[in-house]
């Protein structure tokens, strides 16, 4: 191929790329480019070499000029098309051009546990003065591979994320920073062991406490798949990338209430893309990314070598900044980094133990501050002040009681136990004989109540009679009709009369034990001690941070029908006398979806439990996932809540999760799925994506009971299945057995 032919081919490809990005939209600039190029091709044979060169050069200039012009016309949906284009830069390009050398770990093209996730050990060479430094780094990210089919479009399977997690831990052991590159439309929604949701939850949980600097670069940040490697100290976003809770097509399908196989109109998809505020600029304004890296006009492609240079500079700078922000000796270098764009200074990337502690605390604070500006809290200033004073008092009390006195108290208790043991060993026989003689004295024969309970035949526990507690009447019980159990064909269950089924039977088929869904109120009345519930933060309201069309009305309706201000109710209650802090997600309020308000309430509940040294119980009556209309403000609740939960767990708390009805997507893939003790009521369906989404994404049909609690248990996601009628007893037992010696806090 001659040089001229190559140039023509290059221009043809550039035009094809522009046409792909602008989709079906007619544009005068594109038409002009097309006609000019076609004209040139038509008169190719009649031109001499001089004319060819001149015309090619002017055509090149025209392309450059119009590309710059078209850049300004890009809509959010065009940017989605840019990041999905096969010519878009991919992780392999970055490894080749940003890092000086690298070794791919555990995979070579299709021969990998998951080719859509690439992990590499790389290094960056820095020359400072006369010295050359090689700085190692762990690089990982989704690989779209310029449209290679086996890369699955960067949609990572659970084992791909597990591999990433494994090497995050390796990086932590080796004390080297991690650079993650996010190129995913979302995680592959299959539930094979350990399940997409469970694996993402594990990743986020580990990232919340990683003791090495993490820099994330977002190109295509699709919801849970992005979060699996996206919890970072510095989040850089490429100017033509998108970061969103859901793909615009997915949002359009939900907004348009489309059924299987139906396709949404391009206008609706475009509108959703615009309203979700998925672009880099929007995300920077909202505070979910730290900075934007400007790409060449119409997006970076593999041949844009200048862009890789910029990216290299940016990730080095970001890593330096993180390290210096937590290091003791930093003053001049931190200043130099901030003031100069390319300082020629060396920063060692390994961290001391103290700096590592500072790093995780800094990360915690960074994420806690996110999305708070969108919080709608109608609590009065007086109430807020009172609550703040109360919080401080509890903090002081907790310090004195558990940190100061607790430590000594434990020592005294242990000493007393030892002394008691010694006495028992010395005078055991004498004491037992003496007590036998004393017990024979008339009038002292009466055994203690506790001893009686332990030695006599078991009976109903005093005060715990089922009827006495069941005061809530389900609206389902007010209908004079019978209900058929879905297992009637299999087990021959007879029809059940609704007033019986939804009151005395607690929504459980008396033949096969099938659990019909019950309202969350049933649990409030039947699980917790009577009159023990004290709600807090009830005035935090769900809002519409993106001003998404129609959400205000939907929220108003939900508030009116449920009587709550958000889908999350947080309260303190007791179970057989044991105080617990509870966060409950209610399916009745917008499907129990999680947005800014719900996330904040969950975090505050975890903080309250930590402050008061109480067990933390998440009762998930139902959750449809992250509230898509809140966009990234919703999805950011995944790392935020996980960070809060991790902090609580690390300080020794007991965190229990109980799923009921349907629990899917973001919350399960983060702050719920990370609990070491997750249980489900028999009625539960648990998973990452519903059957419709799985069919749409993977093209596979799934078996009818794919998300049922028993399947989830067999996959190892949850640790047990509870009968609804036994929740109170089971919860009490869980608190007693998992709580430990010093009740819930180690």
């Amino acid at each position: 191929m001659t040089h001229i032919e190559k140039q023509i081919q290059d221009l043809t490809e550039r035009l094809g790329y522009i046409e792909d990005i602008f989709g079906n939209r007619e544009n005068a600039n594109i038409a002009l480019l097309r006609s000019k190029l076609n004209d040139f091709k038509a008169q190719l044979s009649s031109l001499d070499s001089g004319q060819l060169k001149r015309q090619l050069s002017s055509l090149g200039d025209l392309f450059l000029f119009l590309e710059n012009k078209l850049e300004k016309e890009l809509t959010p949906m065009d940017k989605v098309r840019i990041v999905r284009h096969p010519q878009r830069i991919c992780l392999k390009d970055i490894l080749e051009n940003v890092y000086d050398n690298y070794t791919e770990i555990g995979g070579k093209d299709e021969y990998s546990i998951d080719p859509s996730m690439i992990i590499a050990r790389a290094y960056i060479t820095r020359k400072v003065g006369k010295k050359t430094y090689k700085q190692p780094v762990m690089v990982m990210g989704q690989e779209k591979g310029h449209g290679e089919e086996f890369r699955n479009g960067g949609s990572v399977k659970p084992w791909g994320n597990a591999k990433a997690l494994e090497y995050m831990k390796v990086a932590e052991t080796e004390n080297i920073p991690i650079h993650t590159y996010i190129f995913t439309p979302g995680a592959f929604p299959i539930e094979d062991y350990p399940g997409a949701a469970q694996q993402i939850a594990k990743n986020i949980y580990v990232m919340a406490g990683l003791k090495v600097p993490v820099v994330a670069v977002f190109s295509e940040g699709g919801s849970g798949g992005a979060e699996a490697i996206g919890l970072a100290d510095t989040r850089i976003m490429l100017s033509h990338g998108y970061y969103s809770v859901i793909s615009p097509e997915g949002a359009a399908a939900i907004e348009g209430r489309l059924r299987d196989g139906q396709r949404s109109t391009p206008e609706l998809v475009e509108r959703c893309a615009r309203q979700l505020k998925i672009s880099a600029k929007d995300n920077l304004e909202m505070g979910y990314v730290d900075r934007i890296l400007q790409e060449p006009p119409l997006g970076a492609r593999a041949e844009n070598f200048d862009f890789f240079k910029k990216l290299r500079h940016e990730v080095i700078l970001a890593t330096d900044e993180i390290v210096l922000s937590v290091r003791g000796m930093k003053l001049f270098r931190a200043l130099a980094l901030r003031k100069l764009s390319n300082p020629n200074i060396y920063v060692r990337w390994s961290l001391s133990p103290k700096s590592r502690e500072r790093l995780t605390w800094q990360r915690y604070q960074k994420f806690m501050a996110m999305s708070r500006k969108f919080l709608l809290d109608n609590t009065s200033i007086l109430e807020k002040s009172f609550s703040r004073i109360n919080d401080y008092s509890w903090s002081v009390y907790a310090f004195l009681r558990y940190e100061f006195l607790g430590r000594h108290q434990r020592k005294i208790t242990h000493l007393a136990e030892d002394v008691q043991g010694e006495v028992q060993a010395l005078f055991g026989k004498m004491l037992s004989k003496g007590s036998r003689i004393i017990s024979k004295i008339p009038g002292l024969k009466k055994e203690k109540k506790e001893a009686c309970e332990l030695t006599t035949l078991s009976s109903w526990e005093s005060g715990i009679s089922w009827d006495e507690h069941c005061r809530y009447i389900s609206p389902q019980a007010n209908k004079d009709r019978t209900v058929t159990c879905p297992n009637s064909d299999k087990f021959g269950c007879l029809d059940l009369w609704a007033p019986d089924l939804f009151s005395d039977f607690a929504g459980v088929c008396s033949y096969c034990g099938h659990h019909f869904p019950m309202e969350y109120e049933w649990y409030l009345f039947n699980v917790f001690d009577p009159r023990s519930i004290r709600e807090f933060n009830s005035k935090i309201e769900s809002s519409n941070p993106l001003s998404f069309d129609g959400l205000d009305i939907k929220l108003e309706q939900a508030k009116k029908s449920s009587g709550h201000k958000s889908a999350c109710m947080t309260f303190e209650a007791s179970i057989k006398g044991i105080r617990v802090v509870v966060a409950m997600l209610m399916a009745r309020f917008r499907g129990g979806s999680v947005g800014v308000a719900e996330g904040e309430k969950f975090i505050r509940a975890a903080e309250t439990a930590r402050r008061k040294h109480l067990p933390f119980f998440a009762y998930i009556h139902g959750t449809a996932g992250i509230r898509i209309q809140e966009g990234t403000s919703g999805v950011i609740q995944m790392p935020r809540c996980t960070l809060a939960v991790r902090r609580y767990l690390e300080l020794g708390g007991l965190y229990l999760v109980l799923y009921d009805t349907n629990s899917y997507a973001g919350p399960v893939a983060s702050f719920l799925g990370c609990s070491p003790y997750q249980f489900a009521v028999r009625s539960a369906n648990i998973g990452f994506a519903g059957p419709g989404v799985i069919r749409e994404t993977t093209g596979q049909d799934i078996q009818p009971h794919y998300h049922k609690a028993f399947m989830t248990l067999s996959r190892g996601h949850i640790q047990g299945i509870w009968d609804r009628r036994e929740i109170r007893n089971n919860l009490h037992q869980a608190l007693m057995t998992m709580g430990g010696e010093f009740l819930y806090f180690r």
Binding site: R481, T482, W497
Partner: protein
């Protein structure tokens, strides 16, 4: 001994089976389909998760339950029941004519003509070496077995047990297992037929394979 040719002729005279749909319990009936001649479908999907064509609703004590078609076929007649009439449990509602497929006809014939030897437990099955050698040399339809013969070896978790044939003597006409796959308990392993009927069965099966017309 059965006459296979006449059995086939009999099936040919009425190449369908008729299924009557009964009410599972009492209630008020509400027909969804009202015309004879309508084509209906049975449950479908990989796990039979999609129900068949909706035939009627049966309402009892406010509980409206759908009644679906159990198999593919044609609605041939409705019993004399009015729409919205109260019916007792077990009342015949309608009749579906299901036209037999090639495989169903072959299955009917083989079921009558062959003795099926079923798997007593889950595991992998092999022929004992004597029978295996004969089968490899002569092929199916030529190896004779009698009651009390050691025929198969069951292998499960490294335990191997010899299995004795306990059915009527005859020729091994067909096998239903593959020695590399695990067989579920109760699944057929062998189809054994009387010595003198082998040729006749083969001929009838070939005739069905080539000449049977399936109605859609």
């Amino acid at each position: 001994m059965i006459d296979i040719t006449s059995l086939l002729e009999e099936i040919k005279k009425a190449p369908y089976k008729e299924l009557t749909v009964f009410t599972p319990h009492s209630g008020r009936i509400e027909f969804a389909l009202k015309e004879a001649g309508t084509t209906v479908h049975g449950a479908s999907g990989v796990w039979n998760e999609k129900p068949g064509t909706l035939l009627a609703y049966l309402t009892r004590e406010g509980n409206r339950k759908p009644v679906y078609a159990p198999e593919k076929g044609e609605l041939v007649m409705f019993h004399d029941i009015d729409d919205h009439q109260f019916v007792q449990a077990g009342t015949p509602l309608l009749k579906i004519r299901h036209f037999l497929t090639k495989q169903e006809v072959i299955d009917i014939i083989l079921k009558k003509a062959l003795h099926l030897f079923l798997a007593p437990e889950k595991g992998r099955y092999y022929f004992v070496s004597a029978i295996d050698t004969k089968l490899k040399a002569k092929g199916l339809g030529h190896v004779n077995i009698r009651q009390g013969d050691e025929v198969l070896i069951i292998s499960r978790m490294k335990r191997e047990t010899v299995l004795v044939y306990d059915g009527p003597g005859g020729i091994i006409y067909t096998t239903y297992f593959n020695s590399s796959d695990s067989v579920e308990v109760g699944s057929p392993l062998l189809g054994v037929c009387p010595n003198n009927q082998v040729e006749e069965i083969k001929e009838v099966v070939a005739r069905i394979q080539s000449g049977w017309e399936e109605k859609q």
